[in-house]
């Protein structure tokens, strides 16, 4: 019991959906230190996008990952629009928010359902996924796909909503409010869930700021870094909403932020549908992208997503770089895990809503 052991978790491991390597040092049952290695499925997308034109890169960026797939082309497009000086029509601004918030709600429900799965509460997991399935249906009915929506384009959006689709969307969102309220109460109050999440994987507010942690992981430690508020884009500045913050600094607080943000996402979509202006959904034609550079960022489900695009005036970017939310949150695991039990590793790992696919652009 008194000895220190090194336990390798990964890169291929039953608890990991995607490959990443944790070198965990344990003393008895308690984690003492964690080291992380990545790069096992690095795809070199930043080199690939330099070989494709600005239109083709809307398609490539959407394939960076599946859960926040809408945010990748969305953010990339906003950076390109800045270089080209494009101002999109007001209707498109609202439609961009609608697509993004539907994706956020579905992504957060997926993450909390995985939490239920990891703490062994399988009925809670399946019920959460069943509720999420309504959103998957919505995505397939409106955008034609369950994951990649292809909603955005340079100059606006590629889809519009008619009256029938708006009625359908409102009806579907209404249908999941009660189930989500009931599920949220279980995540919040159930004895088993609390025992496995409360005081587990603590990340202080100071460490959150020091490490530059983003998204619900930071907001669970009381750090207000929601890009929708601090760097507004699309129609977020015209909607009535507040940033969701929790101060528990643990796995539970992060889950509660995500659950509250599911309600918020539904509310934001409803507000957009009510205020949806008439008019075109995109600018006419396709703009020439001049020489220049631009940055853009959005609040993806996992946190701040950043794109930098540099153009030399040709049809292809000269350089493109994107920083995914998970990228900054990995280092936080080194703070969250020590002092916890081996059995908590997977629960803490899930609490940053990790995306290896994103990290390995």
């Amino acid at each position: 019991m008194g000895e220190t052991y090194k336990v390798p978790v990964g890169p291929i491991h039953i608890a990991l959906e995607e490959p990443v390597y944790f070198k965990v040092t344990v003393h008895g049952e308690t984690v003492e230190h964690v080291d992380i290695l990545s790069g096992f499925v690095h795809r070199g997308m930043e080199a690939l996008v330099l070989r494709r034109n600005f239109l083709q890169n809307m398609i490539i960026t959407e394939r960076t990952c599946s859960l926040c797939s809408n945010n990748h082309p969305f953010t990339y497009i906003m950076a390109v629009e800045k270089i080209a000086g494009v101002k999109i029509p007001p209707r498109a601004e609202y439609l961009r928010v609608i697509a993004d918030e539907v994706k956020r709600a579905a992504s957060h429900l997926f993450n909390v359902s995985m939490l239920a799965h990891l703490v062994g509460f399988h009925s809670l997991m399946t019920q959460t996924m069943e509720t999420r399935e309504v959103l998957q249906d919505v995505k397939e009915s409106i955008w034609g796909n369950r994951m990649d929506l292809g909603a955005n384009t340079i100059g606006g959006v590629k889809y519009d909503l008619d009256k029938e689709q708006i009625r359908y969307l409102i009806k579907q969102l209404n249908s999941i409010k009660k189930p989500i309220r009931e599920l949220a109460a279980i995540y919040r109050d159930n004895r088993i869930v609390r025992a496995r999440t409360e005081g587990v994987g603590v990340l202080s507010k100071e460490d959150t700021l020091r490490l530059g942690v983003v998204g619900p992981t930071a907001r669970g430690s009381g750090v207000n870094n929601d890009i929708r508020l601090i760097y507004p884009y699309a129609a977020y500045d015209k909607l009535d909403w507040d940033v969701v913050l929790e101060d528990g600094c643990d796995v539970r607080a992060r889950a509660l932020v995500r659950l509250r943000e599911v309600f918020q996402a539904i509310n934001l979509v409803e507000q957009c549908l009510k205020a949806l202006p008439d008019g075109p959904v995109k600018t006419k034609g396709f703009p020439r992208i001049p020489k220049g550079e631009g940055v853009a960022r959005t609040e993806a489900p996992r946190g701040e997503l950043f794109f930098y695009v540099k153009s030399d005036g040709s049809s292809k970017p000269e350089r493109m770089k994107w920083r995914v939310p998970t990228y900054l949150n990995w280092e936080a695991l080194k703070v969250m895990m020590p002092g916890n039990k081996i059995a908590d590793i997977s629960v803490i790992f899930n609490s940053i809503d990790p995306c290896i696919s994103c990290t390995e652009r």
């Binding site: 800045k82 507004p232 900054l328």
Partner: protein, 175 residues
Amino acid sequence: MKTDKKEIAALLLAELKVYINSGFDHRFSHFDHLGNEDLYLSLHDKADIKAVASLFEKHTGRVITITPYVVDNGFEIAYHFDVRGVVLTVTLLTEDGTVDSITPNLKSADWAEREMQDLFNIKLIGHPNPDRLILDEKMAKGIFKEYMTLSDAMTGAATNTLWEQINEAKGEQNG
């Protein structure tokens, strides 16, 4: 919100003038109708990146990411910072492929610097944990710098031979 960011940006520019020894160019700013402010600067001396990091540390700023790319005389490295909601892109040139690490000041630079070391073989001076991040130990460093696609190679872009032959033929035609 709109005035705030303009004021913060002006304050940062004024402070940078004091902090940076060898000066910088304020290339341009992008200010949008929602009040967002993006600043684009270029350092005259790469060593001044430490001073920039130290100023932004004082403001509880963070590194969003770092974009290195190859230029004719070395590398340009664009550092993207968030300081109180303002995005600053600070670019420097390194001709010898070395640069001071800013991770001791801003921990959020840690992974971005190690990635740049792996993919471009840019040497970091003073990084607290300069281990490999992405590439396996067995692979050569600087793969992004060396990378050439099959399509480039097949169109003759791997060497100058094809163009030399074309130019030679043109010269013959032109007498």
